[in-house]
């Protein structure tokens, strides 16, 4: 193929690309409909971020298109042709000053709103915030609502502990304290909260207010975004935004002690749970309420997913999970713990080797009844 032919082809493609550019832009915008989208804010925090993003995005688009067209034009227009002589110049002072000023201007336009949002998001959280401690662990999230548990015998407020599903109230500010138990994790709900890392030994936090119109059935998706080991991909969580009535209904149920199982199988499961699972898990209001190590399972039946947002919450998934969790979440093999003998077991065992399939079925039945 000759060079001229190649150039003709590239010119033709250049024209096609020009037509395709708006199409690409359209595709980018359709990212809005994706469940974990970063550009459809549903809280004051993400909207502030979006404000900066849009400025930065359009400026970038402008520079991108300008430079691409310029490159293409120069390449095509100044290609070798009979009779063309290259102009022997070494520079041009005024031009060079001009294209020093252009990037300076663009940078300044981006910096001003950036600094504004930094100032806003590192200020102090609203005083009437609901305070939640989110703790990242390999590989799940624990959420502790400060003071929202049932008062203890002396009437002092207690904290309400739950896992992997966060329930919020639209219009109510929430102040999230970020902690980590083992390695660094990161807390991110793309539509509600830009990510902030959970660093062991550090006390990070963030705050946001879900919009009044952000109430919806469907969950907002959250995910750990700092690499945290074998099952980093399997560390997700869900966020439900309710109106005031819905939130109170959820809170009323969540703070109460566990319900008694009704089915025969469930009752058997409850007995087995105390023997087999209470070492790590708590179900409030039962004998299994001392451990604070694994996720709190008091109302696990009311959650939509298990295993940190990776499986639907149903009996068959629960059975699979209890039987051999490492099959579902690589890395949670308790053998990985032998390095550190001083700490309690971090990871769940595979119970298929220890108890019968019927018993696992019973425990799973019990868990689904813990609404």
């Amino acid at each position: 193929m000759t060079e001229e032919a190649l150039l003709r082809i590239s010119q033709r493609w250049a024209r096609r690309l020009l037509i395709l550019a708006p199409a690409a832009l359209f595709i980018l915008l359709t990212a809005c409909s994706d469940p974990q989208t970063t550009i459809e804010p549903a809280s004051d925090m993400t909207e502030a971020i979006q404000g900066v993003y849009e400025i930065v995005f359009w400026l970038s688009m402008f520079v991108f298109i300008a430079i691409m067209l310029l490159t293409l034009w120069l390449a095509v227009h100044y290609r070798e042709q009979p009779g063309r002589e290259a102009i022997q110049i070494h520079g041009h002072q005024r031009l060079e000053i001009l294209w020093t000023i252009i990037p300076v201007a663009i940078v300044l336009i981006m910096l001003v709103p950036t600094w504004q949002v930094i100032a806003d998001t590192t200020d102090t959280p609203p005083e009437d915030s609901m305070v939640i401690t989110a703790t990242g662990k390999q590989w799940w999230f624990e959420f502790t609502y400060e003071g929202l548990g049932l008062p203890d015998d002396e009437g002092n407020p207690t904290d309400l502990v739950t896992a992997n599903e966060l329930h919020l109230q639209a219009g109510k500010p929430v102040h999230v304290l970020l902690r980590a138990d083992d390695v660094i994790h990161s807390f991110w709900i793309p539509q509600l909260a830009g990510k902030v890392d959970m660093v062991p030994g550090h006390e990070n936090d963030l705050w946001f207010t879900p919009f009044e119109d952000s109430v919806r059935e469907e969950a907002y998706l959250g995910q750990c975004v700092e690499f945290c080991g074998a099952s980093h991909a399997n560390m997700r969580f869900r966020v439900f935004v309710h109106d005031e009535e819905g939130f109170n209904a959820w809170l009323e149920n969540e703070r109460s002690d566990a319900v008694e199982p009704t089915s025969e199988l469930g009752k058997l499961g409850a007995t087995l749970f105390v023997v087999r699972c209470a070492e790590c898990h708590t179900v409030r209001g039962t004998a299994a309420s001392i451990a604070d190590f694994g996720p709190d399972l008091t109302h696990v039946g009311s959650r939509t997913t298990i295993a940190a947002g990776i499986l639907d919450n149903n009996i068959s998934n629960l059975v699979d999970w209890i039987s051999n969790p490492a099959e579902i979440k690589p890395g949670i093999n308790p053998e990985n713990d032998v390095i550190d003998k001083e700490r309690p077991l971090r990871f769940m065992r595979a119970f298929e080797d220890e108890i019968s399939a019927e018993d696992i079925q019973a425990i799973a039945q019990y868990l689904t009844e813990l609404k």
Binding site: M1, E3, L7, L28, A31, D34, P35, Q36, T37, T38, A48, V52, Y53, V56, S60, F64, I67, L70, T71, L74, A75, Y78, R79, E80, A86, I87, I89, H90, G91, H92, L95, E96, P103, I106, T114, W115, V117, I118, L178, V183, I184, S186, G194, K195, V196, D197, V199, P200, G201, H202, C224, V225, E226, F227, C228, G229, A233, P330, G331, I339
Partner: protein, 599 residues
């Protein structure tokens, strides 16, 4: 000449293998760097293809989570430390003495030592796959996940491998910094240096100043893992964020260490094929220096989400965006170099023009997440993956390929085939854009990086498949380069001294250059010495009859010392007896080295 007691006589044998092992010729060492790095580059590419295969469809099960984590870690380590850095080293080894008009580097044996230590360090790193698993916590090895409590022996290979590679890079950097300062031909003032030499010079100082910081971080990590300290472990009172600061103080200059040589190559290729001098030489040089300085003031932008305070966020966002200014100046000057030219579109020029475009895309997306609020949505998503690959593939790698096509005739005397070259280019160009442009969309759709699996229904399926197809097309493009090399290798070396009518000094000698580079060290009168000679009808002066050109003799000691360093490093990985063995080997090597006659 008599040999000192106990030392080995300088090699005299004609055996091909031994002549390469004992060589101190910068051109041969450059070739060794190039071939070795290219093999590592293929390994890193295979790692990338495995990663993309796993991610082609949701819930993929081609490889498991543990292997995936090793692969993405090793892909980064291999490409950064074993492919792109040493490919840059291959060019500056081969080209620096030729372009500044010197017979060799300032310290030829030290140069050989750098190469052998690099080879051994690379082998240590890659061998971890066989010995109990490769590093698997990312090339950034954040703490405490990289502590002995949370990770296996792979991270020991990481620490030792990077330390060995650090020694190699430091030795090379010192050597070339001195060479560029001290061995320039008469008339080759600093402001007449080719831009490639300038960029190399800046990279040398970045290495000299950044590597010790990494070394300290690695030493502290080694103490945390092997001994009982807790520099980075929160349980013992340490601070995981300290690691991040130390790592990125090294890690951000490292980014410029990777990209500046490519910028240098492009600054040679664009003027040659536009048939006019580089536009705004001084501006490009000073922009490079500015990038070198600013590169030290931006490291915390890798840490915007770790809970930095408002002031730090504000300062580091400003300094990071400020880097866009000298970078912008460079891009405009490159484009202005094409303006008014009569552009010959060889494969080298295709890669160079593509470099300008693709690197600009990577630069623009980089400025986007220089804004901390925006970074809160983009950090650790595929948007960042897209960004770094536009900079390192579209930037650094396309620069390397441009350099390969440009200097191949100088290095081998043979021109690479242009038709295969165009196939090579277009496949790589299309593949690279198909693989990495959709990653912007994935990032905006909220796909985190470093995940080995994802669910369908998140809007990520289509673009992941496209990215995987793109990765394979990119690999096919690289295959065309290999075919091109093998095909043209059988031809007669008939490229001529200066097939491109290029302006810089390396084209003033034969292709390939003689062992002593220049018969007579040329006198330099302009920034484009070869064009100056052409325009003033000057010819290369003949050597005076009877002049003897002294060349350093080959030596066994570089590889002996490098082997000692290898033993030293293998100790902590296996048995400390090896370290004990390494010490006398190194001392013996230094002893022989010092006493060896070099006249």
């Amino acid at each position: 000449m008599a040999t000192a007691a106990g030392t080995i006589a300088a090699p005299t044998t004609e055996s091909v293998v031994w002549s390469w092992i004992t060589t101190v010729d910068h051109k041969r060492i450059g070739a060794l760097y190039g071939v070795t790095a290219f093999i590592f580059f293929l390994i890193g590419g295979i790692e990338a293809l495995l990663i993309r295969t796993q991610l082609a469809v949701p819930n993929g099960n081609v490889i498991n989570a543990e292997l995936f984590n090793q692969l993405f870690t090793m892909h980064a380590l291999t490409m950064i430390f074993l492919a792109i850095m040493p490919l840059g080293a291959a060019f500056f080894n081969y080209m620096v003495p030729l372009m500044i008009g010197a017979r060799d580097v300032a310290f030829p044996r030290l140069n050989a030592l750098s190469y052998w230590i690099f080879l051994f360090g690379g082998l240590v790193l890659v061998s971890s796959f066989i010995f109990g698993g490769a590093p698997d916590t990312g090339w950034f090895a954040y703490q405490p996940i990289s502590s002995s409590q949370f990770s296996g022996s792979g991270m020991d290979f990481y620490v030792i491998g990077l330390m060995i590679l650090g020694i190699s890079s430091l030795a090379a950097a010192l050597n070339f910094a001195v060479t560029i300062i001290n061995l320039r031909a008469p008339g080759m003032t600093m402001m007449r240096l080719p831009v490639f030499i300038w960029m190399t010079f800046i990279v040398m100082f970045l290495l000299i100043l950044a590597l010790p910081v990494l070394t300290v971080a690695l030493i502290q990590m080694l103490f945390d893992r092997q001994f009982t300290t807790s520099f980075f472990l929160p349980e013992g009172g340490g601070d995981p964020i300290l690691w991040q600061h130390l790592f990125w103080v090294f890690g951000h200059p490292e980014v410029y260490i990777l990209i500046l040589p490519a910028m240098g190559v492009v600054s040679e290729v664009l003027p040659t094929f536009s048939r006019k001098p580089l536009f705004g030489y001084a501006a490009i040089v000073f922009a490079g220096i500015a990038i070198g300085f600013l590169g030290w003031a931006v490291w915390s932008h890798h840490m915007f989400t770790t809970g930095l305070g408002a002031v730090q966020q504000a300062v580091f966002s400003a300094s990071t965006m400020a880097i866009g200014i000298p970078t912008g100046i460079k891009v405009f000057n490159w484009l202005a170099t094409m303006w008014g030219g009569s552009i010959r579109f060889t494969t080298a020029m295709y890669f160079a023009v593509a470099f300008v475009a693709l690197f600009t895309i990577g630069g623009i997306s980089g400025v986007m997440h220089a804004s901390p609020p925006v970074d809160q949505q983009q950090q650790d998503t595929y948007f960042i993956v897209a960004h770094i690959h536009y900079v390192l593939v579209g930037g650094a790698l396309f620069g390397v390929f441009s350099g390969l096509y440009y200097w191949w005739p100088k290095m081998t005397g043979r021109l690479l085939n242009e038709t295969l070259g165009k196939w090579n280019f277009w496949l790589m160009f299309i593949g690279m854009n198909l693989a990495f442009f959709p990653m912007h969309f994935l990032g905006v759709s909220g796909m985190p990086r470093r995940i080995y699996t994802y669910d369908s229904g998140l809007g990520w399926d289509f673009w992941n498949l496209v990215a995987t197809v793109g990765a394979f097309i990119l690999a096919l493009g690289v295959l065309f380069f290999i075919i091109n090399v093998f095909k043209t290798w059988q031809q007669e070396p008939d490229a001529g001294d200066n097939p491109w009518d290029a302006p810089t000094l390396e084209w003033a000698t034969t292709s390939p250059p003689p062992e002593h580079d220049f018969d007579v060290i040329p006198e330099v009168h302009s920034r484009e010495p070869v064009w100056y000679m052409r325009d003033h009808n000057l010819t290369t002066p003949e050597p005076e009859p009877g002049t003897h050109i002294h060349l350093p003799p080959p030596s066994y000691y570089p590889i002996i010392i490098a082997f000692g360093v290898l033993l030293l490093g293998l100790g902590p990985l296996s048995h400390l007896a090896l370290t004990a063995l390494g010490v006398p080997v190194i001392i013996y090597g230094i002893w022989g080295w010092t006493l060896e006659p070099t006249e």
